[in-house]
Amino acid sequence: MSELSVNHLLGIKYITEDDINLIFETADHFKEVINRPIKKVPSLRDITIANLFFENSTRTRLSFELAEKRLSADVINFSAASSSVKKGETLIDTVNNILSMKVDMVVMRHPNPGAGIFLSKNIKASIVNAGDGAHEHPTQALLDCYSIREKLGDVAGKKVVIVGDILHSRVALSNIFALQKLGATVKVCGPKTLIPKFIEQLGVEVDTNLRKALEWCDVANMLRVQNERMDISYFPTTREYTQQFGVNKKLLDSLNKEIVVMHPGPINRGVEITSDVADSKQAIILNQVQNGVAVRMAVLYLLASKIQ
C-alpha cells in the first residue's frame, strides 16, 4: 500500500493501521531529509497551504509551518485573533474566501469539536485537523506513537499510561485510538473528576493510583492540566494535584524499571512533571518535537499526492 485511504486527516478514528504505518515509513525518509545540510525538498512546490488557527498554538503551528516550508509549499498563515472572524464572519465564509485565493490544503485548529469534519463536507480542499476542541489532535498522536516506535522499536505490545487531564484532552483521545490501532495496551490515570465517564468503552483501563500505573507501564504520557478549559474546580489545588499525579525523579527512581516519559507540551514545570524529569534521559519530549516535523511532512506529502 502506498497511498492513504483518506483525502483528509480529521482524526485517528478515521484512518487505518496501514495508513499510520505508511505515514511512519514516509516520516522515516523525511527524518533523513531534515538531517541533511540542506533540509528542503521540492515535492510540494505547486501546492498552497493555509494554516488557520482559531485558537492559540506555538508548537503545532510552528511545526506545521516548518514542515510545509521544508516541502517547498507556499504558506499563508491566519490567526483568528487578528481576523474578520471578530467581525462576525462565519467559518465557511472565512475559509471560502481563503480558498478563492487558490489554496489546496487547509491546516486548521479550532476550539469547536468537529470543525474539521464540518469543513471537509462543505469545501473543496484537503483538510488537516491540527486540534479541534477536546475532540482529536491526530498529528500529535502520530508523532507520539512514532516517538515510541523510535525509542522502543515497536508500538505493538507496549503498555502506555496517559496521565492527567483526560477530560479536556484531544491528545488523550487521539493517542488512545492510535495506540490501540498499533496494538498497544492503554491505561488512563488521573483524578476521577478529570476522567470522562464511560471511557472504559474505548477499551482502556482507568487507574487513580499513579504509582501502580507507572509500575505497570512501559511509557507514561503526561498531559498538561488545561486550566484554560476548566469551567469548575476539578481538584482542590495545583499543589495537591502535583502530589497525587505529578511525576518526580524520586518516584521514577523508585520504580523497578526504566520507563519512557513523554509530554505533548507545553509543560507546566513542577506540576505534571518536575524539571529533573523533563530534562532526564528517560524523557523524550524534545524527540517528540523533532519527530513532529517529519511526521507532519509525511502527512502533508501523502495527502497532497491525492489532490487532483
Binding site: S2, H29, E32, S43, A304, Q308
Partner: protein, 179 residues
Amino acid sequence: MSQKVLLNATEINIALHRLACQLIENHDTFSDTVLIGIQPRGVFLAERLKTLLEDEYKIKNIQLGYLDITFYRDDFRRSGKPLEANKTNINFVVENKKVVFIDDVLYTGRSIRSALTAMQSFGRPLEIELLTLIDRRFSRHLPIQPDYRGRQVDAINNEKVKVCWKENEGEDVVYLVSN
C-alpha cells in the same frame, strides 16, 4: 506481451568488467571519487560494480551511497500511481568529490535531473558523471547523456527495458518487453 533478451548473464558480466575498467581509467584509485546508486534499481548495479572493483581490480575503500530521488521528481501528482520513497544513505562528504551516478536504465533523463537537484542537498561535488547499463537512445526529454554505458538500445516508447539481477530476481538478464 512479448519479451526478447537484450543481454544475457555472460554479456552483462562482460559489460560490467568493461564499465569497471573505464571507471578505473578515469578515477584511478577512487581516492577523490564516490559512487552513488540511484534508488531503487541503480543500487544493484552500483553494488555489483563496487564488488568487481574491489575483488577483481583490488581497489580499496570505495565509497558507495544510495540516493532516493522521490521527493525531487517532477511528476508528483502527475503520474497515475503514488510515488513511494526509498532509503537515502550517503554517510560521506560529497563536497569537492567526483561523483558517479549509477543507474540501470537511462530513458527520458528526468530521474537523473532529479538526482542532480537532490545532490545539491548534500554539498557541491567537483563534478558529476553518469554510468548506466542501458542507454535508451532517442527517448530523451532532457539534454542528459551518460559518460559510461553498458549497451545502447533503440526502443520505441511503448516498449520497456527490464533489467533483472541475480540478487533480486534470481538471474542476470536484460529484457526488451513489448506490449
